[in-house]
């Protein structure tokens, strides 16, 4: 019964959607059936677009993991560094991506590069803060033990701090996974000229011509993409650190 609950909620939501769409014009809310038809009719185009957006989101997430995680290690290690740079990382978090995306087009040109950058920008901060919090949460008695054994800083980082911070880092990565898809799509709103076609481009173009079923189909595809990224990370987390951290399943 517990396993069936999500399906029941999903079916209720679909029913509500179908009932609402019957009362509204298609340009405002297409029915689930019309969206399903758009998903089938535009399958090759949506597939190509989803691939482009997946590439942008994944590369953005990877960049954010490398730089956010790296900065997190440095900040956790040196409070002075954190004091010096933390306000600027916060700035990075608060910069409206929509506002800087046109500048990214000028700097980098049209295409994947812009959406990778916007995906990285929005994904950076959660990974950074999670890494810092995780590294600082190492139990002090374990740190004392390694100190007694004469472990070097690097050994302590590699053998204790990073493994104990892993659940935090994965939590940050999971938060950023959904954000990276949103970031990529926002970048595509401005930085995609249709070559290659992307989900952001499809949303924009279909909304412009009031092809609402296609807009919804592209939204369904982007939601599926974000969910896939999230669950993949969840599985990777369970596989990599599940044995050490009982809370991770």
């Amino acid at each position: 019964m517990r396993r069936a609950l999500p399906a029941v909620v999903g079916l209720c939501a679909l029913g509500l959607w179908a009932a609402l769409s019957a009362r509204l014009p298609e340009v405002l809310l297409p029915s689930p059936l019309e969206v399903a038809r758009a998903l089938v009719d535009h399958a090759p185009r949506l597939g190509e677009a989803a691939l482009t957006t997946t590439a942008a989101a994944l590369l953005g997430l990877l960049l954010a993991a490398v730089f956010g995680g790296g900065a997190g290690v440095l900040f956790a290690r040196s409070p002075a560094l954190e004091r010096a740079f933390a306000p600027y990382t916060l700035l990075l978090q608060t910069v409206p991506v929509v506002a800087i995306a046109p500048l990214l087009v000028v700097w980098l040109g049209y295409g994947l590069k812009v959406s990778v950058c916007t995906a990285a920008l929005v994904s950076f901060f959660p990974i950074l803060t999670a890494t810092v919090a995780g590294l600082r949460a190492t139990p002090p008695e374990q740190l004392d033990l390694l100190r007694l054994y004469g472990a070097t800083e690097l050994q302590t980082l590699w053998r204790l701090r990073l493994p104990s911070a892993a659940p935090f880092v994965f939590a940050g990565l999971r938060s950023s996974a959904g954000l990276s898809v949103i970031g990529a799509i926002v970048g595509e709103f401005v930085g995609s000229n249709g070559a290659p076609v992307s989900l952001g481009y499809l949303v924009l173009r279909s909304a412009r011509s009031a092809d609402t079923p296609l807009t919804f189909a592209a939204i369904v595809a982007s939601t599926a993409l974000a969910l896939t990224l999230y669950t993949t990370l969840r599985r990777l987390e369970a596989k990599l650190i599940g044995a050490w951290h009982p809370g991770v399943t």
């Binding site: 730089f67 990778v116 920008l121 412009r208 011509s209 009031a210």
Partner: protein, 320 residues
Amino acid sequence: MRAALLLSSLSAMVLGCGDPPAPPTGPSLVPVTIALNWVPEPEFGGYYEGLLSGIYREAGFDVTILPGGPDAPTLELLATGQAQVAIAAGEELLVRRARGVEAVAIWPALQLNPAGLMAHAEGPKTFEEIQGGRVAIGVGSALHSYLWRRFAWEGKVEAVPYGGAIGPFLADKTLIQQAYITSEPCLARAQGAEVTFLRAADAGWNPYGAVVTVADPPPPWAADFARATQRAWEAYLKDPARANAEIARLNDLLAPAVLGCISEAQTPFVTGQDGLGMMTKARWDATAASLVELGLIPPGSSADGAWRLLRVEAPAAPSP
């Protein structure tokens, strides 16, 4: 922001952001990238015709057409050398020049300004009839400022943001929205709506649209390019089939009926009152005066130097 720049550069490095190698060109051909300010549509038909018919090649140009998107920063692409020709709105050029962008208009694709308002057929037929209600428009845009000032709509007509989607207009028979003759009216008609297009030009807002701009001072090839563009557009207007087929191939989200509708609807805007490719001092000065009045360019600014009618003049002297 430093971090943003660093991230951008690093991402670019990781992705190998260097420009792709230029395709091989003949020894005498000038490589020219035309940056469009929107995706391939009939408003760029002449450039595609010039490319496909060989008109540009015969004139000594190896042309690449770079499609754009929303808010495409074409003049910035020109400034950074990523494009040698940028398509931009006339008023946008004057505003950017006032901010130091060195670009000059050499050929206007749209003689009559393509902007206006779109209302449902049962709604207003003239600007004067609009005395209330809501208008979806780029809030804060030059057109918004101009219309509200010209018709004293402040406090009477509510401006609501227009995000580019015509769905809200189709669903609300009382809503009026901004539109370009090269887009929304044909899209709305394709959805079964009967609409009236109120031309901004008739209300006095008439900057040249989709203007061909090059770096200022113009490169030595600018006059030849303007003349070739004139011939390309003449060919397109005579028979748009080939270029439209290419546009349909490149932009398959545009329904064939909509493409045909736009191609037909834009023709009087391309040829205008003065004839294809013509620009006059009076028109440019009027645009500059409107922009000064709206506070979009500093007082005392003019359109002097912002445009060169190269298609009928001797070739420009090479830049120093």
